[in-house]
């Protein structure tokens, strides 16, 4: 994978940029940017059976995008619902599940202390939800035994876990957890994993999977909720409005919804963004996951070893025996995360500082107010890693911690 950066205009426009905030959002290659512009410039129209040519073309492109995303994760096209992003997917799913009858009264919901707020908060709003948080081990893995909540033996109504942590890089084994709770609705937050490891929905054991376009080198404002066919058919509409109906009457009990996936996509969708997302998927497929995973795995190993060598660094990442992505959160002892991030930014290195939307992880597990996070993408190189290490050492020197 040589010289991938040339495909991403952001690097030409920001010479010297060492972009290591991919867990927050990824950069876009030319085909994605062009796809969005082309839509708006050449065939922009609303979709959904508009008879005129532009509308037919836009509809075809939009549904092609759905097929491309479906093939990408080994799903059927009617199992792909386009949403505004992972957070939107999870929120809509939680609301629809509440009305679905698939959860009992006072539903027991299991999640973990590793989760992003977007995979915690939507569940807490379900009426009378009894939340249980699985603990995190010293190796930043999700523990299988429950340690919080009443009724420890009770089978949960829903379990939702992350596929890859946006803080520790931990890659989980969803099947291990899902097999333990066969009757629960099983949800997987794949926002971090989809861009970095090959996803096959038939092997993950999840009923629903959510991920975002903008982390996948695609546009902002688009995401996906994958759902097993029969569940999506049973689920009340995620959103209501135009385009998802068969019949609408003044007596709401007579209303009839469309089949899937249309039933779950109300209103004019993010057409340009869906088309852009499909281009991002095609771009990744042209490079191939084999090469992407190999490069990122090499970088992960390299960075882990380099960071471990620096005594002043407190690293929140699993040992090399555990499966993890190239996401590294750390603190330089004695220096506030914001100061570290600022000094790195002054050297053109883009990282993030704070709690990364994981306050429970930081407060209960890491026992830190915040951390600095460097996260790698498919265009990052060893040179980027070396720059980061060198600059971190400079920061330590400047603050005279050494």
């Amino acid at each position: 994978m040589k010289n991938i950066k040339k495909d991403f205009p952001i690097f030409k426009n920001n010479p010297g940029l060492v972009y290591l905030d991919n867990a927050a959002s990824a950069q876009k290659p030319v085909p994605v940017i062009e796809a969005v512009t082309d839509f708006y410039g050449k065939y922009n129209a609303n979709i959904h059976r508009g008879i005129h040519k532009l509308s037919e073309l836009a509809t075809t492109k939009y549904e092609d995008a759905r097929q491309i995303v479906a093939d990408f994760i080994n799903a059927e096209p009617e199992e792909i619902i386009f949403t505004a992003g992972t957070t939107d997917s999870l929120n809509s799913l939680a609301i629809a599940l509440e009305y679905s009858g698939l959860l009992r009264d006072n539903p027991t919901i299991i999640t973990t202390k590793l989760e992003h707020h977007s995979n915690i908060l939507p569940w807490t709003r379900i009426r009378n939800a009894q939340m249980k948080f699985l603990d995190i081990t010293n190796h930043y893995q999700i523990a299988l035994t429950e340690t919080e909540g009443k009724n420890p033996g009770k089978q949960p109504d829903l379990i939702s876990i992350t596929h890859m942590s946006n803080v520790t890089g931990t890659i989980t084994e969803p099947l291990t957890f899902f097999k333990k709770f066969p009757n629960a609705v099983k949800v997987l937050d794949a926002a971090q994993s989809v861009p970095h490891i090959k996803i096959d929905v038939k092997k993950l054991g999840a009923d629903f999977i959510a991920f975002s376009g903008h982390k996948l080198y695609g546009p902002t404002g688009i995401g996906v909720l994958y759902g097993k066919k029969d569940l999506l058919a049973k689920l009340p509409p995620l959103k209501l409005g135009g385009g998802m109906i068969r019949e609408v009457h003044t007596d709401p009990s007579k209303n009839q919804w469309a089949g899937i996936p249309e039933k779950h996509e109300a209103g004019t969708p993010q057409i340009a963004q869906a088309i852009g997302l499909a281009e991002a998927v095609k771009y990744i497929q042209r490079i191939g996951f084999k090469d992407i995973e190999k490069q990122e795995h090499d970088l992960q190993k390299y960075m882990f070893e380099k960071l471990k060598e620096i005594d002043e660094i407190e690293l929140y990442h699993p040992e090399l025996g555990f499966r993890a992505g190239a996401v590294f959160s750390f603190n330089i002892k004695g220096i506030h995360a914001h100061d570290t991030a600022q000094l790195l930014s002054d050297k053109q290195i883009a990282v993030r500082a704070g709690h990364h939307c994981t306050q429970i992880l930081h407060r209960d597990v890491l026992k830190r107010q915040g951390s600095v996070r460097a996260s790698f993408g498919l265009y990052n190189t060893r040179e980027d890693a070396d720059q980061l290490i060198k600059s971190v050492k400079d920061v330590i020197y400047k603050f005279n911690v050494k």
Binding site: H336, H338, Q342, L343, D346, G354, F399
Partner: protein, 120 residues
């Protein structure tokens, strides 16, 4: 943009912040936090005959927030209550002498916000 905000005076105050002892007695106090950053400050003032005679702050956070609170604490010692009430953010920012991005501005002004809160 090569704007170094970690200049000598900032680092000096960060490493040896002034007026960080808890006061035996105080007339005004406040406690605030900056949730974006995780910076927190507890501030105590002793105002006698309308003049700030003592000040103590415990600031937990980034270098900018600690330096800001420290520099502010030195500045307001001996000032009158009226002068502090009239004080605007720009005065403190001039003292710090650095250009701050919007997100770091909040850090620098943490002590200032605590001061205004204490004398409300």
């Amino acid at each position: 943009m090569n704007n170094n905000i970690y200049q000598e005076n900032i680092l000096f105050h960060y490493k040896n912040p002034k007026n960080t002892e808890k006061l035996d007695e105080h007339t005004h106090a406040s406690k605030i936090a900056n949730y974006t950053c995780g910076d927190e400050i507890e501030l105590e003032l002793k105002i006698e005959d309308g003049i700030v005679t003592e000040i103590g702050h415990q600031t937990n956070g980034c270098a900018i927030s600690i330096a800001g609170a420290s520099i502010l604490s030195e500045y307001i010692k001996g000032k009158t209550l009226k002068e502090i009430q009239k004080m605007g953010k720009e005065e403190l920012l001039d003292l710090l002498g650095i250009e701050l991005s919007p997100s770091r501005l909040k850090c620098a002004l943490l002590g200032f916000e605590a001061l205004k809160e204490a004398i409300k």
